[in-house]
């Protein structure tokens, strides 16, 4: 199978005003997961626009070059590694060819994000870790007097059941860290069933507001809306959190809103079906 997307040349960073096409990224993710017979299709597909907006809000060349004054992107829900690496590839932070090694022997691209991959700030996988590290980065950026850089954490709506997440939010709020923004992938499905059936946290936005955060709630598949929310929040006087309403498995009809696609891998038939759906979506776009 070949990747039919048109990615940028290896390690050449895109201009910040030309964001990668989410459908092209989904096609890349699909190929990575199919080749590797890997899981986490659902959560990888739900976060694509969020990742595009997150990296799109930063100076990605600084992330690629490990500049000290770069923004820190922490993918706290580390199981969306395929989406993270694919997005980094489309932004030119890592070479696209590297994606071919996902989930293979001797590769550094494991099923959860790893700082062994250049451009990744922090290895995650156990939930409720990355957001705390991101708050530490925000404190560090402030202590270093770094302007125009933010600490951005991508967390899952199941992940926020971890108590450590709220420790991070309490501190961010107390310190009024307006250089910190968390984005919640509110796909409403956690590990094995609907998030609300496990622990009903609705209305999420009000819970976060009660912790003193600046809150926005947006369509999590609208890059422009997420980008606007990030910019508004970082211009404010307190840490921000964006509830991004998403569809788990977005773009792959048989996987949308289906908890089992946290675990299942693609066979030939389902891969072809998924690819046809994504290619059709690309044509419509």
């Amino acid at each position: 199978m070949t990747i039919q997307t048109k990615p940028p040349a290896a390690a050449s960073v895109r201009a910040s005003n030309a964001l990668p096409d989410p459908v092209a990224i989904r096609l890349t993710i699909l190929d990575m997961l199919y080749r590797a017979k890997a899981s986490h299709l659902g959560s990888s597909m739900s976060v694509v626009e969020m990742l595009v907006a997150i990296y799109g809000s930063t100076r990605v060349e600084k992330i690629r070059d490990r500049a000290p004054d770069r923004s820190r992107v922490i993918v706290s829900k580390g199981h969306c590694a395929a989406a993270t690496y694919a997005t980094m590839g489309h932004f030119g932070i890592i070479p696209m060819a590297l994606l071919d090694t996902y989930h293979t022997d001797h590769s550094l691209l494991a099923g959860h994000v790893s700082h062994a991959v250049s451009g990744v700030e922090h290895s995650t996988g156990a939930l409720g870790h990355g957001i705390n590290v991101a708050v530490g980065c925000a404190i560090g950026l402030r202590a270093r007097k770094v302007e125009n850089a933010t600490a951005l954490a991508l967390v899952g709506d199941g992940e926020i059941q971890e108590g450590s997440v709220w420790e991070a939010l309490m501190l961010a709020s107390h310190l009024k860290l307006n250089n910190f923004v968390a984005l919640v992938d509110n796909n409403r499905i956690s590990s094995i069933t609907d998030t609300a059936k496990v622990l009903d946290m609705r209305p999420l936005a009000q819970r976060f507001a009660g912790f003193g955060l600046g809150v926005r709630e947006v369509d999590g598949h609208d890059v422009t809306a997420i980008l606007s929310a990030i910019r508004e929040l970082t211009a404010g006087d307190r840490p921000g959190i964006i509830v991004c309403n998403t569809i788990k498995g977005k773009g792959v009809p048989f996987a949308e809103d289906q908890p089992i696609w946290h675990y299942r891998s693609l066979n030939d038939e389902l891969y072809a079906e998924a690819k046809a759906a994504l290619v059709a979506a690309a044509r419509r776009a």
Binding site: P68, R72, H115, E121, H122, S123, T124, G125, A126, G128, H129, I131, N132, V133, A134, V135, G136, C137, A138, I139, G140, L141, R142, A143, R144, A151, G163, S164, E167, A168, M170, L171, H174
Partner: protein, 294 residues
């Protein structure tokens, strides 16, 4: 020794702009000066130890050298996963300063008995582990930690012990004859030194750095002895006794290795660590009796 270490960190902050001090709301009348003099490099994260470690990792990402302070059991046991993932896997030069060891908090009950802390961290290869046995070593330690730049846990006993007045990781205090040697660290080293003063024939080996062990030096020191008694306020299998079992096997040493250590958690109340040292055979009389018995 807590004061020596905290003061040393405070002093180094004047010279090293990367040193960052964090506390999980512990250290009354001790940490306030950090907030006053270095407000940008001091942080009380609140009673939130998981966040203490995670935030420290974020600061390390920015190039800071975090010293994270709270009571030993709070940071080690609650934060094992954070220490493994956010410090160990990343090899971040974060120093966990854990105050209290063994039965320092004796009457506070078993949740505050720190007898299984460093053994838990021994399972994480990246974390260096120290337990200063004297103010001399405590005073030396902060510079050593800054120089090594390694992830570390410092188990800080209550008490300001003047002996052994050495900054060596391993301190040999020979006895009158090469027969029996006591091996210990932290507060229990004092019991061993007191036993030696009663029976000068006993040798004492004090180990200030518990990992990495100075294995060659230890093997050379222990080789002549027929009886090696490890005295520690920590469970033996995961403590120094366990570590020395490996050393003796690796170096084909034939000395008999014996342990004086707690074996389980205590629900009975003791008002000082003397109560529990006596109960578990860590007091001077028990040490002398064990030395005579073996």
């Amino acid at each position: 020794m807590r004061g020596q270490i905290i003061d040393a960190v405070f002093e180094r902050m004047a010279r090293n702009a990367d040193v960052f001090f964090l506390t999980a709301d512990m250290g009354i009348n001790l940490v306030e000066k950090f907030a006053e003099k270095y407000p940008a490099r001091f942080l009380n994260v609140g009673i939130a130890e998981q966040n203490l470690v995670g935030v420290s990792a974020g600061l390390a990402n920015l190039g800071f050298r975090p010293f994270a302070y709270t009571i030993s059991n709070f940071v080690v046991h609650r934060c094992f996963e954070q220490i493994r993932n956010d410090i160990g896997i990343h090899d971040y030069p974060i120093v966990l300063l854990g105050t209290s060891t063994g039965y320092d908090n004796a009457p506070l009950g078993p949740t505050h008995h720190i007898i299984d802390d460093w053994g838990a961290l021994k399972a994480i290869p990246e974390i260096d582990i120290y337990c200063p046995s004297s103010v001399s070593y405590a005073g030396f330690l902060v510079d050593h930690l800054l120089n090594t730049g390694r992830p570390a846990y410092v188990r800080i006993p209550k008490g300001a012990y003047k002996t052994p007045a050495s900054t060596d990781h391993v301190v040999m205090l020979p006895g009158g004859r090469q027969d029996t040697i006591l091996v210990s660290y932290g507060t229990c080293a004092q019991d061993c030194l007191a036993a030696q003063s009663r029976d000068p024939a006993l040798a004492v080996l004090v180990v200030n750095r518990l990992r990495p062990l100075d294995e060659e030096k230890l093997a050379d020191a222990l080789a002549p002895y027929r009886r090696i008694i490890v005295v520690e306020d920590h469970f033996p299998s995961t403590g120094l006794y366990g570590s020395l079992c490996e050393v003796l096997v690796r170096h084909s040493l034939r000395g008999g290795l014996h342990t004086l250590a707690p074996r389980d958690y205590a629900l009975d109340v003791g008002t000082s660590n003397a109560y529990f040292h006596k109960k578990h055979g860590l007091d001077v009389e028990s040490i002398l009796a064990a030395a005579a018995l073996h």
